[in-house]
């Protein structure tokens, strides 16, 4: 694939991306959220048409118009979420779309044999007549992979295939990938787990902002360089400030919150940290490192399976967000549209969403007090809107974010969790929000900030925890916070450089 361009409306998703996958090669594709990985896969598999650029497949120009055409040409894709029919049998799932027929009827014995033959390659001996929902997620994933390869594929695309697999199951998958390679089949492997890439891939293509920034053999690039290229950083301390944070001048206050060996049933495996008053703590880590999930654990939005939390030295076991709010915790979520705003409500109603129970007497809302509080925050946060009664969906992203900040500040929280507080908002609003967060910490608030923008963590946080594959691998005090150390910990799992 050469020089691929793709726009979605006003958004440029691919801006000259190039991807070369050799025959019988396991090729890693890496990049941050929004780097264009999924889009280039969608172009390759015919889900979306390309705006410009060329694709050659097996030496000839290649244009696919539908996912089906890509499959017929020998390109199979395995998605992160299993896209099979749960209620139907393994046989039907494996043969879906290419059922064996005899005299116009389904040839069940042939399909049965075919399904067992394909699964045997994975050392899977299961009753193929059972419905898919009978099997564990891992087994379903393996069946999905078996199905994809059964399509007599020349190129198999795997989009984070190991995210729901255990280590042992992943090892089986890697054996299968090596087997495919020796059969002359190429694999495009997308993953955020660095160790996996080095274990199984031959070459790597790194994407950023819709472009290919580097493509080389796996052994030409070390983990640190890989991570810094992904994030667009040189491995050396950069001078000058890129953000509006004030730098590290605060004296942190008393311990407020402690988490010890936290785990959930998904991404979070072993995370420990301490948050103090009058301090911004940053969480750094790649996608899937467990940053957002940890925030949701603190907020009681997902259950903790292991570990303990403490507030002011007392045990804290939030059963729901309401418990966390009662304990003085606020949580500005990563996705404003899906988890934050109520689009049909006004600025005032959105801002008062969490405070409302306290504004009501006998269930009736004190409108005068609400108007007073809202006017105060519109002023102090510099929210640009036609007035408190404007619908929030009419506001810009930055102003929506400020309204949501107002929602939590109105609760006078002791701990504020900010998940990607400046994502998707313009530069001016970004600087204003950074200044505001800085001021809040100066005034005594404990802030936990999650950001994928390295400079935000490095310049904004007084202390940084680096998370890697669900484990808190490093804690950096303010005189230790450098890009090299943060990147190093993200790449290798320890702070030593």
């Amino acid at each position: 694939m050469r020089d691929i361009h793709k726009r979605f409306g006003g958004t440029v998703a691919l801006d000259g991306a190039t991807l070369n996958i050799g025959a019988a090669e396991v090729h890693a594709l890496v990049g941050q959220n929004g780097a264009g990985k999924s889009t280039i896969i969608k172009v390759l598999t015919g889900y979306v048409p390309r705006d410009a650029g060329e694709v050659d497949f097996q030496g000839v120009p290649f244009t696919v118009t539908s996912p089906r055409a890509a499959q017929d040409a020998g390109i199979s894709t395995i998605y992160q979420e299993i896209n099979l029919v749960e209620s139907r049998s393994v046989i039907e799932n494996i043969c879906l779309g290419r059922e064996a027929r005899r005299f116009g009827l389904l040839d069940w014995p042939a399909m049965h044999a075919e399904a067992e033959r394909i699964l045997a390659r994975f050392n899977m001996r299961v009753d193929v007549r059972r419905p898919l929902s009978h099997f564990s997620t891992a087994n379903q994933q393996m069946i999905a992979i078996a199905r994809a390869i059964g399509f007599s594929a020349r190129l198999v695309i795997m989009d984070e295939p190991t995210s729901s697999l255990t280590d042992r199951e992943s090892a089986v998958l890697f054996d299968v990938i090596r087997g495919l390679k020796s059969d002359g089949i190429s694999v495009l492997f997308v993953s955020h787990k660095l160790d996996e890439l080095y274990a199984v891939c031959d070459r790597v293509t790194i994407m950023r902002d819709g472009r290919t920034v580097r493509s080389c053999a796996m052994d030409e690039i070390d983990k640190l360089e890989l991570v810094s290229t992904m994030l667009g950083r040189e491995v050396s301390r950069r001078d000058g400030h890129a953000t509006a944070f004030g730098g590290h001048t605060r004296q942190p206050g008393d311990d407020l919150f402690q988490a010890t060996h936290l785990a959930d049933s998904g991404h979070v495996r072993d995370i420990s940290f301490t948050l103090r008053q009058n301090e911004i703590v940053g969480f750094a880590g790649l996608l899937g490192a467990g940053r957002t999930e940890t925030a949701r654990l603190i907020f009681g939005a997902i259950p903790t399976t292991k570990g303990t939390m403490q507030i002011d030295g007392g045990a804290f076991t939030p059963g729901s967000p309401a418990d966390a709010i009662a304990a003085g915790i606020g949580f500005c979520t990563e996705d404003r549209k899906i988890e934050g705003i109520v689009p049909d409500m006004t600025v005032a109603e959105n801002m008062m969403l969490a405070l409302m129970p306290k504004l009501a007497r006998a269930g009736i809302i004190d409108e005068a007090r609400q108007a007073q509080i809202v006017a105060g925050f519109i002023d102090s946060l510099g929210i640009k809107c036609a007035g408190p009664h404007q619908k929030i969906r009419e506001l810009s992203g930055g102003n929506q974010q400020k309204v949501l900040l107002g929602r939590w500040l109105a609760m006078s929280p002791r701990l504020l969790i900010l998940d990607e507080p400046t994502r998707g908002i313009d530069v001016g609003a970004k600087a204003e929000i950074q200044k505001l967060v800085n001021r809040l910490a100066d005034e005594g608030l404990a802030v936990l900030m999650i950001s994928s923008e390295l400079e935000e963590v490095i310049e904004g946080a007084d202390r940084v925890y680096v998370l890697r594959e669900g484990v808190s691998v490093a804690e950096l005090d303010r005189d230790q916070i450098t890009e090299d150390r943060v990147l190093g910990a993200m790449a290798h799992g320890s702070a030593s450089v």
Partner: protein, 325 residues
């Protein structure tokens, strides 16, 4: 650009006032073509006919505002309508003086409908069952229960103390119209001014945001279905009071669709998050007057249904235009 802006204004204006304009136009049309339209008699006929639909549709508006739907309203009306006569006619226990019996009958019948509504909400909030499926359970079973309770018999009665709610007058106004007015005003105020009203709209507008803001989402859902049940129970009693009889096969039959139509025409978003009780009232009145106009001018009921469908399509189309613009 200028054209776009003016289009948007027109759609927004229509989205807001279309129902009212349609209602006024229909009334004007009737004044011209329908004989004896401007009489107290006509007003009373239309208001009494629309009352039960409005009462049920108010509850439906709250349910739809949370992003749900309640198909069981008609069956709950039948249950309440079957239960009340059994109590005040002494079919279950002998309860002494007639006003005690009537009070007990009204309270118990409405409470039972409310509890069944809460059961709907519990299925939806606790088990995550889709509202249309969860309320389908009582839609089907409820009418059966009402028929089993009465052995499928028609219950005929003449108890003026009870029938006051359907036939009585206060200051010359039918009692059920007053009941309707109190409910419309009360619920409209509740939706705008109370914590519960905000919670309803937040749950329907963005459930995840509501949960993450610490709202008791399950309790809110159970409460709206319970209110829908209570109002259905009340509507069932008004229907049997007017008819002086209760037929479990017929009380509230098909009213869920009239109520949903009134809500949709009134401008409440069927996807939740936005609700207008006044709109629902106007929607119900519009549909009622369309039906009356056609009937009074000799158009058969079957044709009236087609017109009703046309109005619903127009209302939904307008909503989409106004939101897209």
């Amino acid at each position: 650009m200028g054209r776009q802006v003016s289009d948007r204004r027109i759609y927004a204006f229509l989205d807001r006032y279309a129902t009212l304009i349609a209602l006024v136009a229909l009334i004007a049309l009737n004044i011209v073509i329908t004989p004896n339209f401007l009489t107290l008699q006509t007003l009373n006929v239309n208001l009494t006919q629309v009352c039960t639909i409005v009462i049920v549709a108010v509850g439906m508006t709250l349910v739809i505002a949370t992003g749900g739907i309640d198909l069981s309203v008609g069956s709950l009306m039948a249950i309440s309508g079957a239960l009340a006569p059994m109590i005040f006619m002494g079919g279950i226990v002998d309860v002494g003086p007639v006003w005690v019996a009537v009070t007990l009958a009204i309270v118990v019948a409405i409470a039972v409908a409310g509890l069944l509504g809460a059961f709907n909400g519990w299925l939806i909030a606790r088990f995550g069952i889709q509202p249309i499926v969860a309320t389908l359970v009582l839609f089907i079973a409820g009418r059966g229960i009402a028929q089993v309770m009465t052995n499928g018999n028609l219950q005929v009665f003449a108890v003026p103390e009870f029938q006051f709610i359907g036939l009585g007058r206060v200051f010359g106004l039918p009692v059920q119209v007053l009941i309707m007015a109190v409910i419309v005003v009360g619920v409209a105020w509740m939706l705008r001014r109370t914590l519960f009203g905000r919670q309803i709209l937040a749950v329907g507008g963005n459930e995840l945001a509501a949960i993450l803001s610490g709202m008791p989402v399950a309790r809110v859902k159970i409460a709206v279905y319970a209110i829908s049940g209570l109002l259905s129970g009340l509507a069932g009693l008004i229907v049997i009071a007017i008819n002086s009889s209760s037929d479990a096969n017929l009380v509230g039959l098909g009213i869920e669709l009239d109520a949903i139509a009134a809500v949709a025409v009134g401008g409440t978003l069927l996807s939740g998050g936005r609700a207008s009780i006044w709109g629902t009232l106007l929607g119900a009145l519009t549909i009622q007057i369309v039906r009356y106009t056609l009937l009074a001018n000799g158009v058969p009921d079957a044709a009236a249904m087609v017109v009703k469908a046309g109005i619903i399509i127009a209302a939904v189309w307008l909503q989409q235009k106004a939101r897209a613009a």
